[in-house]
Subunit: 378 residues, 2 copies
């Protein structure tokens, strides 16, 4: 226990020693960042400390008491909904989830926030079941000894079909190298009944010293812990998710919609009293016009995390909408049902209200809902 | 489908025809209100239309497509986490849930909001599995024909132990009469491993015409549909939960802490674009001092719903804290582990910012956390 650093304090943040944000998935301190083929990534613009160009790493999350081990392949019994199982040896972790009534939105389908929550849960359970027993909440043993944590830098989720209350989804996840000092985590979400892929996601992570808040290279000892879990398979090509594609930074003059005075709530905080990074989606939607929210589905969103956010900070949400470009073919093959087209494109910025420091950049694709009138009759 | 009324519009609310709020559990239009022994209840103060003093009713919720029937007693297989099962004939509905990483708060235990979400899910699945196939989202057949819905008026939750990530809870729920035109729904939450009761809850519901927004008596045809599901068993005595006990209405002069400018987010809305009633807990906590949130557990909260809330309304949260009275013995026997004492008592009000109209009154009990320092070391 002695090696577990104390939580970051507000004074530490105020002192200006914060180099790079830690807007990780709640409770996650896992995984790395970087272009799949060694390209420079956005995090470099923050402090220039990391230039990923080689192999990378995987991390650990552990709570006390730890849940039991995952079931083995073929066991689809009662605990299938508690923890998942490994498939393809121990390279892919698979877990099923029921969509609950409180996880659907005004259009009666699972929200993007719900999907991100499920991705987070799957990632955490994957790491826990991998047997890398670190000390504390979010590091392997070798990471804990060095006070290293993982922080997410970018995530892209593409959704073809949103599930409804009572639907069961099956999520596969695995990790891969991403540059020399980063890691990539991918997910596939399938409808359990049809086995069709209904969504997919990819994310990039880097390693940070939790006391100095500086990005770190991956120590060899950590690399040896995690390398056996790598699966070099991409569900979304790097060009499509934009590991290297820069998201435009909106300004007062380029944003069409600005919503100020957004206040993080106590319930938005994670175990370290930072803002849970899933919550940013809610703030992004706050500056999206209501008719877009009502008439369009989000088909893709990319979040580029730039800086951590604490409860005391007032935020602003900026949005700019545009018709989607349909002249060029999509970079990715469409999902199973071929409905992953896009009618609108949007760009977003979440920034601090006082000094305008950016927290998250994002871009998204939207598709017009079909049969909206008939849905309301259900 | 033709009998399903259109969603309430903003203009209807603005027209002043709204008599009583509809801050129901998301998607729930179920169940009734009233004192268990015929006492008048708080809802009477709103429009005086209902004086419950006899038997009551149960309702239906249905989505299309409907999930499969619940498993029967003894079947604890893979679908146990999807839907529950009936025990004690068809009078008690039981379902298990895994606490997810995104359902825990800064202190690493399930939040009160999480518990309320699980109560809601259990209630909805109970009604769905009862076979009362109404048309639309929240009414039995006979209710749909009359454009009647159920609205919650009060809920009380008492928590002895908060679960942690990966814990499995088992929730029992049943319904009972509550006055002539109301219904009561109770819940027990147990730790699946120890089978100890770790929380319990009770709620009161009344029937409303969704077009006129007026409270309604229960038609005989509806009563006949639902009576077979009643179980006259109370997990919390009426005196303790305060079916008749009035919660003080805080004012600018009696409130110690006032937080203004709270804005409902798009993601706070339910399928009818009303505020999901679980969300009020988050707003209540916004005016609770930070040291209370950090150093105390909520052991009991009672929410008294007075008026519905829409996204466009800015809200204020008022709180007053007091040391708990320890001179009188508790009205309820303590829960299994006998830790349900209280160190602080609080009173709350959520009101509209512009006209100060009250939305929710609440009161709560708090117990000092033990071993807080050591928890942070985990």
């Amino acid at each position: 226990m002695a090696t577990t650093p104390a939580p970051q304090t507000a004074s530490r943040v105020a002192s200006g020693r914060l180099i790079f944000g830690e807007p990780r998935l709640r409770g996650v301190r896992s995984f790395g960042n970087g272009g799949a083929s060694g390209r420079r990534v956005s995090v470099e613009a923050v402090n220039g400390a990391v230039r990923p160009n080689g192999a990378a790493a995987v991390a650990d999350v552990r709570l006390v008491p730890a849940p039991p081990p995952a079931s083995v392949e073929g066991d689809d019994g009662g605990d299938a909904f508690r923890l998942g199982k490994f498939v393809e040896g121990t390279l892919v972790y698979r877990q099923q989830f029921v969509i609950r009534s409180y996880e659907i939105g005004p259009d009666r389908t699972a929200t993007m926030e719900t999907l991100m929550n499920l991705l987070q849960e799957t990632a955490l359970n994957h790491v826990m079941c991998s047997g890398l027993a670190g000390d504390g909440f979010g590091a392997t043993l070798q990471m804990s000894l060095r006070k290293l944590i993982w922080v997410v830098t970018r995530i892209n989720i593409q959704v073809d079909k949103y599930s409804r209350w009572g639907d069961v989804v099956e999520i596969d996840t695995w990790v891969a190298s991403s540059g020399k000092n980063g890691m990539r985590r991918d997910w596939i979400i399938r409808d359990r009944n049809t086995k069709n892929m209904i969504a997919r996601a990819t994310s990039n992570w880097v390693m940070m010293n939790r006391e100095t808040r500086r990005l770190s290279k991956i120590p060899d000892e950590v690399r040896q812990e995690v390398l056996p879990f790598y699966l070099e398979r991409s569900i979304i090509a790097a060009d499509a998710t934009g590991s290297g594609r820069k998201i435009e930074k909106l300004t007062d003059s380029t944003a069409e919609h600005i919503r100020s005075g957004l206040a993080p709530r106590w319930s938005d905080m994670d175990v370290n009293q930072h803002v849970n990074n899933v919550k940013y989606i809610g703030w992004i939607l706050e500056s999206v016009p209501l008719d877009v929210l009502e008439d369009y589905h989000l088909t893709s969103i990319t979040l580029d995390y730039r800086r951590e956010c604490r409860q005391s900070q007032l935020l602003e949400s900026l949005t700019s909408m545009a018709m989607a470009m349909t002249s060029s073919p999509p970079a990715e093959p469409p999902l199973a049902s071929s409905l992953c087209g896009s009618d609108l494109h949007s760009t977003h910025l979440i920034r601090q209200q006082d000094d305008k420091a950016e927290i998250v950049r994002a871009c998204a694709e939207w598709r017009r809902k079909e049969h909206r009138g008939s849905m309301e009759q259900l």
